[in-house]
Amino acid sequence: MQIRVRLIGAFRIERFKEEIREVASESRVQQIVDELQISNRILGIVLINGVHAGVEDILQDGDTLSLLPILGGG
């Protein structure tokens, strides 16, 4: 199946802003995070189709997955 992956902020460095990816059906968010070699320590927010989700959530064909760094005060 295909999903659209959007990366925000520092996650774009040496990766991409947005791309369509071919992934196995029933893939969990964590699999994409691992494939992209994003550290869970700075993974702050996961959105599936704009709605907050978790790394264990299962993706569906056509989903848009956004990965955002941690938000920290300042």
Binding site: A10, R41, I42, G44, L68, I70, L71, G72, G73, G74
Partner: protein, 612 residues
């Protein structure tokens, strides 16, 4: 501190702290070892100072009854990473109830002043009354213990924060400094004066890289008292690192709690500046006085765009491995690093940048630098100016002051300079007073008289219960955005249980970035206290003390005349909901009313049990 016990919970009075009280009117100085009343006293910071403030009845921040309390936390100057905080407490000139009474307030900053202060042997310095002439205080370590001396400060008057520090450095070796700028000197017309704290990097490089205790106008209170600077002179007294503290420090840097603040080059999140990217994904970056437009304008100040034209260097406070500072330098024509411009933290960058309609990084940097040099709280300054710009936009026929509008850099720059010089009380006294004067209060972005940080209030109803800085004393600013919580149960729990614990850092002497997610009720803090002072203390003890201290702050607000209606967000938020913000709209009148009811139902019985 003197520890005559290892059990500070059961035997708090067997822990004594060294306090110096200076009567500025008579010049008399009293040094004493004060027994602690409870664990809050032992931990220090606002946990202790608010108990002193609770003993006073203060109707006017600029009055003899209002003390200025300078203290540290238990772990300030210890070998625990980030242990560098100094606290300034008093009744605030800027934050106050509609009844006209000032609110108890504290403000804190890093830099090396706090550690030096602690190493002189002093834990707390209380300034009473007011000096007739400008003075600065020199706190020294001597063989007979700490000594405090007042000196004439006329020669420092009129200098910027940075220039005061550099002037004092020439006279005092092995010392660090806490100073006010011209804004604090002009306390009559500037209620948002900050205290600047010197850093090692600043003293070595000569560049204006102070840290600031900005919130609540403690620099203005210092100015009112005619104290222009503090000098803490002592040898460095860092203990050698014990295996336990070493393990904690490694965990602070590598364990995840501070990763988001660390440099990108180390796999970190790149400091607080990264909030720009995250919030922009929801169109929740404040723009033009907290009215995001759903466009890409804020992206101009995102790091990836700024670094095309400027050099960004990650730097740190003394001995801190988190390295959260993003210092921005001009780039020379040959690509080499040029002049230091400013440190880009999320709050000042946004509130003196996008939220004023300024989208040029160089211009935003100059405004940040100007505010810092004059010694003004960048949050109160930025938000008061953004209110003025919004007013002028609504009243083009009769604008206020110089008629500045959003994005009008030269005019905004003029406002900052004239406010810092004490020539514009309309700006200097903050957004609550300015909006009361215009009669248009709904779009003045303050809560309880203190300007909001750069997280949209639509996303953070918890601001209402923050007892000091909106995002520094209630960690709910990410509850909706980061955690996706939009239900009442989560918000009641967040405000009344989990998120209030962030104030613990403002007791113990550590930076919040030590472990921003978990607060100080953690095994890491327990291990540090055991290793540094042999104290037997549990995470539950610490959490109970933090909660009591928070509740004391809330009780003090109520005592200073705040009505429950003042625990509210700016009215524009619910009167004109902003559909551009792509997050669930929780800040509806119904949600806010129910939240009020349920939060007070938790806090009120506990407040009744708390004796002030």
């Amino acid at each position: 501190m003197k520890f005559l016990t290892t059990d500070p919970v059961a035997e708090a009075s067997s822990v004594l702290y060294k306090r110096c009280t200076i009567d500025l009117r008579s010049g008399t100085t009293t040094l004493e070892d004060v027994p602690c009343r409870n664990l809050e006293d032992v931990l220090g910071g606002f946990g202790r100072s608010f108990q002193v403030l609770a003993e006073r009845k203060v109707d006017n921040a600029y009055s003899a009854e209002n003390p200025l309390i300078v203290n540290t936390g238990l772990l300030t100057g210890s070998s625990a990473m980030t242990g560098m905080r100094t606290y300034f407490s008093g009744y605030s000139p800027i934050k106050g109830s509609k009844k006209g009474l000032p609110s108890a307030m504290w403000s804190t900053g890093s830099g090396k002043f706090g550690a030096k202060f602690k190493w002189t042997g002093l834990d707390e310095l209380i300034f009473e009354n007011r000096s007739e002439t400008p003075v600065y205080a020199v706190i020294r370590e001597t063989a007979a213990g700490p000594q405090v001396e007042l000196k004439p400060a006329e020669k420092l008057l009129g200098l910027s924060t940075h220039d005061k520090i550099m002037a004092l450095q020439k006279e005092y070796a092995d010392a660090h400094f806490a100073v006010i700028g011209q804004a604090g000197e002009n306390w009559q017309n500037v209620y948002m004066g900050a205290v600047a704290l010197s850093t090692e990097n600043q003293l070595k490089s000569g560049e204006d890289k102070c840290r600031f205790a900005g919130r609540g106008g403690m620099g203005s209170l210092m100015g009112y008292k005619n104290i222009i600077a503090l000098v803490a002179q002592s040898s460095d007294k860092l203990k050698s690192l014990s295996p336990a503290v070493k393990k904690v420090n490694i965990n602070v840097v590598k364990g995840g709690g501070s990763t988001r603040l660390q440099p990108l080059s180390r796999g970190g999140g790149g400091g607080t500046w990264a909030a720009y990217d995250v919030l922009q994904a929801f169109h929740a970056v404040p723009l033009n006085n907290f009215r995001p437009q759903g466009n890409a304008l804020p992206e101009k100040l995102c790091r990836e765009n700024v670094e095309q034209d400027y050099e960004i260097k990650s730097e740190a406070c003394f001995r801190c491995g988190i390295t959260c500072h993003n210092n921005v330098y001009a780039k020379n024509a040959d690509g080499s690093r040029g002049e230091f411009l400013a440190k880009f933290d999320y709050e000042p960058l946004n509130l003196l940048g996008s939220n004023l309609g300024i989208h040029d990084a160089g211009q935003a940097a100059r405004l940040i630098q100007l505010g810092d040099n004059y010694g003004m709280d960048s949050i109160s300054l930025g938000v008061t100016i953004s209110y003025l710009l919004a007013y002028n936009e609504r009243h083009p026929e009769k604008p206020l002051l110089n008629g500045a509008g959003f994005g009008d850099y030269e005019k905004i720059r003029e406002l900052v300079i004239r406010a810092g010089e004490g020539e514009l009380p309309e700006i200097g006294k903050g957004s609550m007073r300015l909006s009361q004067a215009t009669g248009e209060t709904s779009y003045a972005y303050h809560v309880k008289g203190l300007e909001l940080p750069a997280y949209q209030p639509e996303t953070n109803p918890g601001y209402a219960w923050a007892i000091a800085g909106g995002h520094m004393s209630m960690a709910t600013y990410g509850l909706l955005t980061r955690e996706g919580k939009s239900d009442l149960d989560s918000w009641v729990k967040g405000i009344t249980q989990d998120k209030l614990h962030m104030v613990g850092f403002d007791m113990i002497g550590l930076c919040k970035f030590f472990d921003i997610a978990n607060g100080i009720g953690t095994q890491m803090v327990v291990d540090c206290l055991k290793s540094e002072f042999e104290l037997e203390i549990t995470t539950d003890d610490i959490r109970a003390a933090v909660r009591r201290a928070f509740l004391r702050g809330l009780a003090l607000e109520l005592r200073q005349g705040y009505s429950k209606e003042e625990f509210a967000l700016p009215a524009e938020v619910y009167e004109h909901p902003n559909a551009n913000i792509q997050l669930p709209q929780i800040a509806t009148p119904e949600f806010l009313d129910e939240l009020q009811r349920r939060v007070w139902a938790v806090f009120e019985p506990e407040l009744e049990d708390l004796s002030l």
